[in-house]
Symmetry: C2
Subunit: 437 residues, 2 copies
């Protein structure tokens, strides 16, 4: 795909720029992170001024160069094409406030340090944190210029929307989980998904010649991002120029169904299936089946590729409180604000999780005991928790036993959220303990 | 600016592609227009399918190739970067319905043909038409897949928002109409606006080496559009790459204040002044002073250039009914839904118009008797009408005597709205006569 050395050099430069941001997790002591208080985009005056000084201008080419992302994750739509996710005309579902002091709640980190909820937010580069207990806002904080109405990049947390939509269509008998993907998308007959089932794709147990290793410039995540227009392609890039065209190039790599392997492309394939079945874009489907049902306060929006395809794997942007509404609806088995926004059976299926044995194949040792089902993470803990997660620290954590929903949106310098996984889990547990007292 | 013949060729191709769309008006008989019923983007399946067939894909490069614009004008944000104009948290101002049969209202065209309001809508490639009488919706129609919640490209109708904002800041003593532009923007000291006043710029009586002649590929409108990222630049284009950088290249061309000459760049200069004074982008200013005040139903959005500058001259997109709300507020001297959304003195000034003698310099003979003030059109008619207008048939027509507001959003193949001016005026008059009966 890379024709000349210049081009390869450019790709290496791209990878170097996003290295800190997207790197496969390293032990904390190996990584030198910028002090969070030195990366505040407001204090740094990123994109401030008319015009901003040249060195403070953020564009797609430098979005992932830290700390540009601290501004950029709140301004994705100002950097490229997006489709609207309309909130509809329903009343906004209420989230009454019942503030509690949680910032001093403390807990022990893995290495025995005492850390407060406030310290945890700062050290994990939080842009917004929302804690709902029994449907009340008990805690909300905004940083980095973020406000209640600011949509924030969700990255792979978008996948959980796609999984939810797929399960809704399965429940509605419009999508057959055991059908082959190529029954819906004949274009994918000769690819990794030719004989994969919808459910294998939803659980990411397909086997594909596709690697999501950000530290390796030969990793197939890069042409996927170039094709989607999210990362500018090197000048001599000659690969696929649209997301669907990229998917058509991915080959099978052994048997499906054996082990979980995290792959953004599985979600794009499901997103494509959903659009093919319904004749609607991912943005329209999220509006119809989720956003307009839960009484969202603000429209959301999604990245659009050069052919107008609305990305279903990494493209969503939404506000903290609207994600709280979705979390609350799921905690309440689909009910919010007095109506059944999402079918109960759909939520029950999401909460089941999948085979934990198959999860082991992922190599995600930090999440030992988890499974991944319909693009939702399941820790199989005693509280019945389930979670949506995205790059750089995006979270919806739902703890049914504690009647708790936590939404955390961040711009952590390290992309892979497993880097802070252990700390986040301890923080969530400490908050759960505090709110039920 | 164009270095080699290949490049010039490309620019000619661009101009040819948009020729029909943006051409300086010709007599109707000289122009062969596509039958409106053959250009319906829904019937033509433009951008339909996952993916759409290659020949049905719209992007910035072919947006202006008719009939792509019929789809594109409802989907601008899916083609490039935009900033949100937040509606805020105020209640939506009500527009009660009191439907009337207006489609059969008829009137004579200039050449003596009898034409109905319905025919007029079709023949002028209407996407949406709203008629408000005494604040009630008496008529609304949507075409081309447009819906009440669909934002539509407003093009130069955006300018009237900028003029309104400027007048609000003047009223608030934050902007001095007789100050020099360069008092606010020292960067423009050596340019057309170096010694132009704010008011001269607001009334477009500045004199600049800048031509907005779409049929002439050497016209300076092209580098303005290339710099703003709205029209893809030819590969070898080496001119300014941001809107502000382009403004800095425009030289003075004689004395200011003598005659009206329509120039999008005057509005961009005022937009820049407003942002410099307030520290806020045009999108934030529209939200703060207009959108959140009138009880808009949906967010609007604005095109953003490669440096993150929110274009104040041609970039807005909004729904039919929200433009109706703005029109109604202005008709009511700034009041809507029981509150003073816009200061009364501001509206009084907009409605005054400017010197009709100076308007003659524009060469816009079809609009003889008009003036242009604070980026609003004023026909100086007996009804006290005033108007906002944009390329391809975007209109807010406010008729205080008839207690009438008409909003028309269109995707006419001919860009210059003066092409349909005579017909539109007659239709507006016929509707005014019908509603007051």
């Amino acid at each position: 795909m890379m024709k000349n050395p210049k081009c390869a050099f450019r790709l290496h430069a791209v990878v170097a720029a996003i290295g800190v941001l997207l790197a496969v997790p390293l032990a904390a002591q190996e990584v030198k992170l910028p002090p969070p208080e030195h990366t505040d985009p407001v204090a740094l005056a990123i994109m401030k001024g008319f015009p901003p000084p040249a060195e403070k201008i953020v564009n797609l080419g430098n979005l992932l160069k830290y700390p540009n992302s601290r501004w950029g994750f709140q301004h994705i739509r100002e950097l490229g094409p997006t489709a609207n996710v309309w909130r509809g005309r329903a009343a906004i579902s209420s989230l009454p406030e019942a503030a509690r002091q949680l910032e001093n709640v403390d807990f022990q980190s893995k290495d025995g340090q005492q850390i407060s909820v406030e310290d945890w937010q700062k050290s994990t580069y939080t842009d917004g944190l929302l804690v709902l207990h029994r449907g009340h806002i008990v805690y909300q904080r905004y940083y980095s210029g973020m406000r209640p109405e600011t949509p924030h990049a969700l990255w792979s947390l978008s996948k959980s929307f796609t999984g939810l939509l797929a399960r809704i269509l399965i429940q509605d008998n419009k999508l057959a989980p055991h059908a082959k993907v190529s029954d819906y998308l004949p274009e994918l007959a000769g690819t990794a998904w030719g004989d994969a089932t919808v459910q294998q794709t939803l659980d990411m147990t397909t086997s594909a010649q596709y690697r999501e290793v950000f530290s390796d410039p030969k990793s197939e995540i890069f042409p996927y991002l170039f094709a989607g227009g999210i990362l500018p392609a090197p000048k001599d890039y000659s690969g696929p120029k649209t997301t669907y065209d990229f998917l058509k190039t991915v080959k099978k790599d052994g048997e499906h169904g054996n082990g979980f392997k995290y792959k953004s492309v599985d979600t794009e394939v499901i997103g494509w299936v959903l659009s093919r079945i319904t004749g609607k874009s991912f943005a329209e489907l999220v509006s119809d089946h989720i956003w307009s049902k839960i009484g969202a306060e603000e429209d959301a929006h999604v990245w659009v590729d050069p052919a107008g395809t609305v990305l279903s794997s990494i493209g969503l942007n939404a506000t903290l409180r609207d994600l709280g509404r979705l979390g609350e609806a799921l905690r309440m088995n689909g009910r919010i604000n007095g109506s059944q926004a999402i079918p109960e059976a759909v939520v029950a299926e999401l909460r089941k999780g999948a085979d934990r044995e198959k999860f082991k194949a992922s190599g995600q040792n930090v999440r030992a005991g988890y499974s991944y089902h319909d693009f939702w993470w399941n820790p199989h803990d005693a509280d019945g928790s389930f979670e949506a997660k995205g790059l750089n620290g995006q979270h919806i954590h739902i703890n049914p036993k504690a009647e708790l929903v936590i939404v955390k949106l961040s711009s952590h310098p390290i992309g892979d959220t497993s880097f802070t996984h252990e700390l986040d889990r301890r923080a969530f547990a400490a908050i759960a303990k505090a709110v039920v007292q």
